[in-house]
C-alpha cells in the first residue's frame, strides 16, 4: 500500500482515522485520497455542497460501502474490512431507512435487542430517547403513519439509544422545525458531553455547524478543503471557496489587484493596513467581506473605509434585515439589524475595516 503521510497533522488519540480513502461508483470518483483524523470525544461537523460526498464518507466509515482504496481505523483498530456491526458505530441515515414493518418502538429497540440487552434496560433507553425526541405518543405507530419530521426523529432515536463509540449523523435535523431543532441541538450537545463519544455530523445548517462542532471539515468534490475550529473556519478561511461557502448570506467578493499592501478595485484603492497577511503576494486577487462586516449608517463612520451605497433590495428577516446595495457599481449584501427601518431606493453610508476583509489569490484562490 502507498505509505502516505496524512494531510492533516495527526490528532492525539484518534478515534476515527481515515487514510488515503478512495471511493468510486463505477466511473464516478466520489472520494479522492481523503485523509481525516477525528480524536476521541470530538464533535466533527462535515459541511459541503450537495453531492460533494458527505454521505458517501459516512457510509465508508460505517463499512457500508466497499472502499476502492485506503484505510479506516476506528478506536485504534484497522476496520477497513470489518463488518459494520463490529465497528462500534451508530448512524442516522439521510433517507431515514426505518424498518417499515416495525413500530417506532421496535425500530428503536432493534439494535439493542441484537445486543441481548436486558428488557428493562431497553425499555428505559427507548423511553429516554423518545422523551428527548418528543415521540412518546407515536411509539406504537409504524413509520408509514408518521410525518416526515417524525420519521426523522425516529431515525435519530435509533442511533441515540445505542452506546456507540462513534456516531454518524447524516443531516439529522433537516426536516424539523426551528424550535425542535434548537431543542435537539442542545440535547445532542449535552449527550455528547455526557457520553464523551465521537460524533461525525453532516449538516447544511450553519448554525448547527457553528454551535455543535469542535471542528468543522469543509468538503468539496470528495476532498476536504479545510478542517478547523468553527471560529477559525469562519474568521480565517484558507480559500475563497471556504470563505464563500460558510456564512449566510454569503461573503461579498470584489475583484481587483493587490499591490504593495494596497488593493485596487472598483471601490478605489483600499489600504490594507491592519489586514493580517498570511503571505502577501502582489497580483490579481479577490477581496472578500461578509455582509455582517459591512457596517451601515452611523456605525460606518467608525470604519477606515467608507462609501456611499444605494439600497436596491430589502429582505427583512425579523431579527435582522438583509439589504442588497450598490456601491460604485458593485453589488454587495449588507446585514442590518432588524430594528432599523430601511427601504429600497434609500442611500446610506457603508464602511468596513481592513481587519475584517479576506484576500485571496485570483488563480489559486488561496488566502493571501
Amino acid at each position: 500500500m502507498n505509505a502516505m503521510t496524512p494531510l492533516e497533522p495527526s490528532v492525539s488519540d484518534p478515534s476515527v482515522s481515515i487514510r488515503s480513502l478512495d471511493l468510486s461508483f463505477g466511473a464516478v470518483k466520489v472520494l479522492q485520497n481523503l485523509n481525516l483524523e477525528v480524536s476521541r470525544g470530538e464533535f466533527l461537523v462535515l459541511l459541503g455542497s450537495s453531492g460533494c460526498g458527505k454521505s458517501t464518507l459516512l457510509n465508508c466509515i460505517a463499512g457500508l460501502l466497499e472502499l476502492t482504496g485506503g484505510q479506516i481505523h476506528i478506536g485504534g483498530q484497522n476496520v477497513t474490512w470489518a463488518e459494520p456491526s463490529e465497528r462500534g458505530i451508530g448512524m442516522v441515515f439521510q433517507s431515514y431507512a426505518l424498518y417499515p414493518q416495525m413500530t417506532v418502538e421496535g425500530n428503536l429497540s432493534f439494535g439493542l435487542k441484537n445486543k441481548r440487552m436486558p428488557k428493562a434496560e431497553i425499555a428505559e433507553r427507548v423511553k429516554r430517547a423518545a422523551g428527548i425526541l418528543q415521540i412518546e405518543p407515536l411509539l406504537k405507530r409504524k413509520p408509514a403513519a408518521l410525518s416526515g419530521g417524525q420519521r426523522q426523529r425516529v431515525a435519530i432515536g435509533r442511533a441515540l439509544v445505542r452506546d456507540a463509540e462513534v456516531y454518524l449523523f447524516d443531516e439529522p435535523l433537516s426536516n424539523l422545525d426551528a424550535k425542535l431543532r434548537a431543542d435537539l441541538r442542545v440535547e445532542l450537545k449535552q449527550l455528547h458531553q455526557a457520553l464523551g463519544n465521537t460524533m461525525i455530523y453532516v449538516t447544511h445548517d450553519q448554525v448547527e455547524a457553528m454551535t455543535l462542532a469542535d471542528r468543522i471539515a469543509i468538503m468539496r468534490g470528495g476532498k476536504i478543503m479545510q478542517l478547523g475550529a468553527p471560529h477559525e473556519i469562519y474568521h480565517n478561511p484558507r480559500s475563497k471557496y471556504v470563505a464563500g461557502f460558510i456564512g449566510s448570506p454569503a461573503m461579498n467578493f470584489v475583484e481587483g489587484r493587490l499591490e504593495g499592501g494596497t488593493f485596487h478595485c472598483a471601490l478605489g484603492s483600499l489600504d490594507m493596513a491592519g489586514y493580517a497577511f498570511d503571505r502577501p503576494q502582489d497580483g490579481p486577487a479577490w477581496l472578500g467581506i461578509r455582509p455582517e462586516h459591512v457596517a451601515p449608517f452611523d456605525i460606518a463612520a467608525h470604519k477606515p473605509i467608507q462609501r456611499q451605497a444605494r439600497i436596491d433590495l430589502v429582505d427583512p428577516l425579523g431579527s435582522e434585515t438583509l439589504a442588497r446595495v450598490t456601491v460604485e457599481g458593485l453589488s454587495l449584501w449588507v446585514k442590518i439589524d432588524g430594528e432599523t427601518e430601511v427601504r429600497a431606493g434609500q442611500t446610506m453610508p457603508v464602511g468596513f475595516s481592513p481587519e475584517r476583509v479576506h484576500l485571496f489569490d485570483k488563480d489559486s484562490e488561496a488566502r493571501l
Binding site: 484505510q71 484497522n78 477497513t80
Partner: protein, 296 residues
C-alpha cells in the same frame, strides 16, 4: 499498522454457508446432470443408460425426424403465444385486482384454483369443452346459431391454440399472483406523484409501474418460459400431441423417447438440443442481468 486485507474467503461467511445448497445444486445436479445427459446422448442407450458410443448417430436421426421438426415449430408458436398472452392476462388481472376491490380474495382464489388441479383431468375437461359434438360448439349451435364452428382441438391448424387456451386457464392465475405481489411492493407515493403529473392510469402502469416491477417480470419470464419449454402433461392429457403431430412438443418428444420408446440415447440427444438452445439464450442473458451492478 496491520493493513493486511483479510482473506476474502471468510468475508460474509454466513452468506457463503447459506449459499452452499445452491452451489451444490447448481454444480452437482444441474451442471453434473447436464454433462451426464450430453455424454449419454452419444450412446445408443435404450432403457438403461449404457456407455455404448455411437457418435452423432442420435443427432442425425433426431434432425431427420419429422416429429422433432414439427415439435420445434409448434413450440415456437405456442411459446410466443403463451408468453404474450399470459403476461398480458396476468398483468391486466393483477392490475384489476390491485384496485382495492371487494372480494379480492375470492376473485384471486378463483383465478388461481385451476393451478391446483391436476392436468390429467383438467386436460380431459378442456377436451370436452372444446369438443364440437358436446362442448361449446354444440351449445351455441343448439342455441340457434347453426353455422357456429369452434373445434380447435380437431383442426390441425388450430389445435395448438386449443392447448394454449387450457394452458392459459391453468397458468395465468399464478402469473397474476406473482404480478400482484410485485404491485404490492410499490410505494404508494409513486402513485401520488404520477397522479399529480396527470398521467392516465394505464400509462402509469406502462411507464412507471412496469419498469419498477422489472424484477418481478423477470421472475415471471423465467417461470413462464421454463414452463413453456417443459410443457408436457397438458399436451398428453388434452391432445396426446394430435391431431397428427399438430401439438407435439420437444419435451414430449424427450419423454416419449425416454420412457415409452425406451431409447434414452435419442431422448438425451433431443434434450441436449433443447438445453443447448436454452444455454445460448439464457447464459449470456443471465450474466448480463445478474452479473453486472447491484441494482437495475
Amino acid at each position: 499498522m496491520s493493513s493486511e486485507r483479510p482473506s476474502r474467503l471468510f468475508r460474509n461467511m454466513s452468506a457463503k454457508i447459506a449459499a452452499i445448497p445452491m452451489a451444490l445444486t447448481a454444480l452437482v445436479v444441474f451442471l453434473g446432470g447436464t454433462a451426464w445427459t450430453v455424454a449419454y446422448s452419444f450412446t445408443k442407450s435404450k432403457l438403461l443408460p449404457k456407455w455404448d458410443l455411437v457418435g452423432l448417430d442420435q443427432y442425425e436421426r433426431l434432425w431427420s425426424t419429422k416429429r422433432w421438426m414439427v415439435s420445434i415449430e409448434n413450440l415456437a408458436v405456442y411459446g410466443a403465444g403463451m408468453l404474450v398472452l399470459s403476461f398480458v392476462l396476468g398483468f391486466v388481472l393483477a392490475c384489476l385486482m390491485d384496485q382495492k376491490i371487494r372480494f379480492e380474495n375470492t376473485f384471486r382464489t378463483i383465478m388461481l384454483y385451476p393451478f391446483a388441479l391436476s392436468f390429467i383431468v383438467t386436460g380431459l375437461i378442456w377436451q370436452w369443452i372444446l369438443n364440437p359434438d358436446f362442448g361449446i360448439q354444440h351449445i351455441v349451435r343448439s342455441a340457434g346459431w347453426e353455422s357456429f364452428t369452434f373445434d380447435p382441438l380437431y383442426t390441425a391448424d388450430w389445435a395448438i391454440f386449443g392447448v394454449m387456451l387450457a394452458a392459459l386457464w391453468q397458468g395465468s392465475g399464478l402469473v397474476m399472483v406473482l404480478m400482484l405481489a410485485g404491485l404490492r411492493g410499490i410505494d404508494q407515493e409513486i402513485w401520488k406523484a404520477a397522479r399529480i403529473d396527470g398521467i392516465p392510469a394505464w400509462k402509469i402502469y406502462v411507464m412507471i409501474i412496469i419498469p419498477m416491477m422489472r424484477p418481478v417480470f423477470i421472475t415471471a419470464l423465467v417461470l413462464v418460459t421454463s414452463g413453456i419449454i417443459k410443457v408436457y402433461d397438458l399436451v398428453v392429457a388434452q391432445t396426446s400431441g394430435g391431431p397428427g403431430l399438430a401439438t407435439e412438443m420437444p419435451a414430449k418428444y424427450v419423454y416419449d423417447y425416454m420412457f415409452r420408446a425406451q431409447n434414452l440415447g435419442q431422448a438425451f440427444a433431443a434434450s441436449t438440443m433443447m438445453l443447448l438452445a436454452v444455454m445460448i439464450v439464457v447464459i449470456p442473458w443471465a450474466m448480463m442481468e445478474f452479473g453486472g451492478k447491484r441494482r437495475g
